[in-house]
Structures are given as structure tokens and as C-alpha cells.
Amino acid sequence: MNDEIRLNRVTRFIDTLKQAKELGLSVIEAREGSLTLCLPYSDRIIGNPDTGVIHGGAITTLMDTTSGSVILCALDEFELCPTLDLRVDYMRPAAPHKPVYARAETYKVTRNIIFTRCEAYQKCDEQEGVELDGIETIANCVGTFMRIGQEATPKHYRDLITGGVQ
């Protein structure tokens, strides 16, 4: 499986999640065992109207989606894995009017459990025409997902995600 197949699978998968579409999540990069998604800024997900800072719940959904979808980048066959738990540490509020990115990786895959970690971040502003490479961490998240096997997911849905190609 190459990165293009991974990106296509994740894109199709996220397309079936209504809340992910509602938030406008998009795939930035998919590699073996790692995935980056983007959450665009929107007035609709503000948690604090005084500051325009988006609510932590939208960050949680971004990180849950990225952590759950990176599994597609780690396994050759598509299987849906329910979330067992998530632990989110908030480092700083997300700056308003800027997208938030989340990069997740699977750091351990066993027969029953998949362990993930994920970082939500924003890119630093350009200053005086010089683009800074730096990022600012918004939140960190570790998650565990349960493997319930391929057969737990109907074949038509698996085919939809893989494009019929296993």
C-alpha cells in the first residue's frame, strides 16, 4: 500500500463521518502509520465569544478523528476500531482565525489494541516576509482503540473505503 492509497482511503472514510464534514476536516498528509488532518477556523465552533477561541470540544473531535483514522494508515486491511479512551492535555488556547492541524501516529499495534498519540498545533505567523517553520502546540492526546476484526464491519462499507481494492 502506498501513501496515495492511504490518503484516498482516509479521505473516503472521513467523508462518511457527518460531524467531520460539518467541521470541514480535510486530509493534509497520509503516510505509513502517520496522518495529518486540518480543522478550519469557523465562528460556529467558538467556545469563548469574548476571545473568539474555538471550543476544546472541536479540538477533541479533530484529535479523535485523526487518531481513529491513522489506523487506516497502519493496517493493510480496513477495519473499524472503536475508541476505548482518549486523554487530552491542553497546552494553550488555539489562536482565532487560523486553522488547527492534528498529526497522529500509531506507536504500537497489537492483535487487540492500537495505541495512538496525536498533537494538535497551529503554524506560526509569517513575520516580516520571513516564513517561520515553527509550530505552536495546542494540545496533546493519547488514545487506545480496540480491534474488533474486519468482519465486524459490513463488506459494502469496507469496499466503499478501500475502493473495492483490498
Partner: protein, 144 residues
């Protein structure tokens, strides 16, 4: 949010409509809150846009997390004389059952209140309180 008038209105009437309308994310997921005596019950009515897994179908785990997180913050704000939304430090969430496409409820408990940090437990359920779909624990920073 920091509008003291909305805060006073909510305290005096037990009507959370204006408070919730002032928080866009609450409207985005459809969060509602009812007061029974001193107790608060948070509700997340059935909403198509909140779904994740299309097969079951089930509410997106992140929405359940966001619902519980916002419930905890409002609960904490109301349990104190604060007019500010407390800042969340961390959030630990255990998913116990799939959250099906139906109304979801949450209640909170203040486990420990210190000078600077508060620890809040949240339980979410659907058909039966005895069968929670998720439990969560959050730390909030109380100072500015």
C-alpha cells in the same frame, strides 16, 4: 459569556437558554441544560450532524467528548460565584458503549475544588443512567 447580566439571569431563573446561545459551540452540537433544584442535567438531543460511525449509526466520539467537556465547564461555573468560563487543563475520557443516534444526557460532580484547580467527574448515558456510554474526568484552572 462574561456578560454578568446573562450569568445573573441564568442563576435567578434557572433558564440556560441565553447562556447557551452565547456559546456558539453549544449551539453547534445542540447542547441543552435543565435545572432540577440544585442539580443540572445536560442534554444532547438527537442530531444527524453529530454522527460519526455511519454503520451503527453512532454519535461521533469527539462530539460526546465536547458535550461532556462543555457540560463540566458550565457546571463548574454555576457551582461557583465565577462569571468566567474556567479554563480546561486536561480531559480524560473512557468510552464504555457506543453512543447511538438518540438523546444523550450528562451529569457532573465536583470531586475536588482547590484554590486554583478543580477536578470534575462527568457521566454520560442514553436510555438508562445505570448504563453509561462514557465517563470523563477533567481538571480546570480557576484563576485567570
Amino acid at each position: 459569556m462574561t456578560d454578568p447580566e446573562i450569568y445573573r439571569h441564568t442563576r435567578e431563573t434557572g433558564d440556560f437558554t441565553r447562556l447557551l446561545e452565547s456559546i456558539p459551540y453549544a449551539t453547534f452540537i445542540g447542547l441543552e441544560c435543565d435545572q432540577f433544584g440544585d442539580d443540572l442535567i445536560f442534554r444532547l438531543p438527537k442530531k444527524e450532524e453529530n454522527l460519526g460511525n455511519p454503520i451503527l449509526p453512532a454519535i461521533h466520539g469527539g462530539v460526546i467528548g465536547g458535550f461532556m467537556e462543555l457540560s463540566a465547564a458550565i457546571y463548574l461555573m454555576m457551582s461557583q460565584d465565577s462569571m468566567r468560563m474556567p479554563r480546561i487543563v486536561d480531559f480524560s475520557l473512557d468510552y464504555l458503549r457506543a453512543g447511538l443516534n438518540r438523546e444523550t444526557y450528562a451529569e457532573c460532580r465536583l470531586t475536588r475544588q482547590g484554590n486554583r484547580v478543580a477536578n470534575v467527574m462527568v457521566t454520560a448515558w442514553q436510555k438508562s443512567r445505570a448504563q453509561p456510554i462514557a465517563t470523563a474526568r477533567a481538571h480546570f484552572l480557576l484563576e485567570d
